[in-house]
Symmetry: C2
Subunit: 305 residues, 2 copies
Amino acid sequence: MSAIYQRVALLGLGLIASSMAHAMRRRGLAGHIAGHAKSAESRDVAMELGFVDSVHESAAEAVAGADLVVLAVPVGAMGAVAEAIGPHLAPGATVTDVGSVKQSVIDAVAPHLPDGVHFIPGHPIAGTEHSGPRSGFATLFENRWWLLTPPAGADPAAVVRLRALCEGMGANVDEMDAAHHDLVLAVTSHTPHLIAYTMVGVADDLRRVTDSEVVKYSAAGFRDFTRIAASDPVMWRDVFLSNREATLEILGRFTEELFALQRAIRTGDGPLLHEYFTRTRAIRRGIIEAGQDTDAPDFGRVKRD
Amino acid sequence: MSAIYQRVALLGLGLIASSMAHAMRRRGLAGHIAGHAKSAESRDVAMELGFVDSVHESAAEAVAGADLVVLAVPVGAMGAVAEAIGPHLAPGATVTDVGSVKQSVIDAVAPHLPDGVHFIPGHPIAGTEHSGPRSGFATLFENRWWLLTPPAGADPAAVVRLRALCEGMGANVDEMDAAHHDLVLAVTSHTPHLIAYTMVGVADDLRRVTDSEVVKYSAAGFRDFTRIAASDPVMWRDVFLSNREATLEILGRFTEELFALQRAIRTGDGPLLHEYFTRTRAIRRGIIEAGQDTDAPDFGRVKRD
């Protein structure tokens, strides 16, 4: 495949940025890959692993001459980075981001970008519980969704070009409105993460059950919560602070439903519980059919004959 | 390995019982394996797959001459099965169960067992989101915990013998008090399941987000909830109805913590969120070190280079 962008600047060198670098390299999607991270250690690791062609101490330096700039920092840091690079962006360059929240990123970034620069916010729905420049790998985005939320009036050609890059890295691309994205993700990702964090915290606090018991007997259910709750704390703090309204709305519905099930347990309403638990199986089947998951028992964690 | 029991009767032929049969066969832990299930279809499948030596229409018939009887039916059905087999149990036989709740099973089963029969309740902490006689496999219990809750005054020799069977199938065995077991499992399994069921239900109810969106974009977080929520509805209905007190206690603590995090989001208390999310990583690391899980990214769902 021929390069889609001649010079890509990755601002932030964590799991997503390093995975993008590995994927672009493998598919020959980018000419030169320039990288910048606030942390000197991350910059050193990027050079050591060699997934970037050049590393720069300042974001402004990294974006010079780039036709694609990727903001891959925590959502809360997007505004400051945009402010730092605004005056240094090449005319006609495309700026995208990989934040898990879109409206607040748009509000923080857009004001700092000069005319003639195309801002096309994005969100790759892919990740692991690992973070940092050593955690990236080229296949992270394969068969995962990459959501783009181009503003009204975005340049169609610039959107098509960015789509091609995402698809080149193996992702499926959808476009939607930023506010709708934030609601969908509050349901599919943000609220589940908050709940998982909470349950892990409860287990940790409970004095009559030792941590070692929690750890030893986590196989059934709790283990999946800990995986979710092991994600990057800074990223998630920013997600909840910046997608506040949608997360609080979904949390409200969640507690409402939870109290209904809690009452059913208290009153011994077996039929209600059975009906509820039966209904949830359909979504699970849907996810397997949608190819976002495997139906191997326990995700193949248990080796099958 | 030489047979530990000459004749094992499996009452119920679902995921756990069929996996026990496969494991006992492979390791030569049992002489004859007799099976019974209420459903004619399950009995037919068991014969078709051949993981039992004989299938019986009645539980009473299946336990005749057995030196080990395994109650592998939903927790709510244990009492009725115990009542049906009580008069037909061989003197000196051991009766165990695989229920996810222990105290209520003991209350339901013990009164029906004659003197001279050893009742040693058990709970293998292993499973997949699949159920039924076709879902079993020989390695399900490998490196998983099998908890035994022998009553005070249980025959030590009978306990040692049952331990040997569980260990022979690859499990690690711990013994604990039944009430403590129920509290530990309320934390590590029962409450997480109820929460996952609830979140999946919320997603399904939300009209502004389509099911297909929920399904397509489930990769981050929600997917793990659906796996948990796809478990057998009858089994889980019975678990919650029979471990009511412990589940309600943990749910109470959970909502208390959740409201604290919810308030932090509402008030924009970033430091509290960051501290909380950082703390949860330790438990995750503990689980990986305890060997109950893999630290491969995303549990190896994403292929790594």
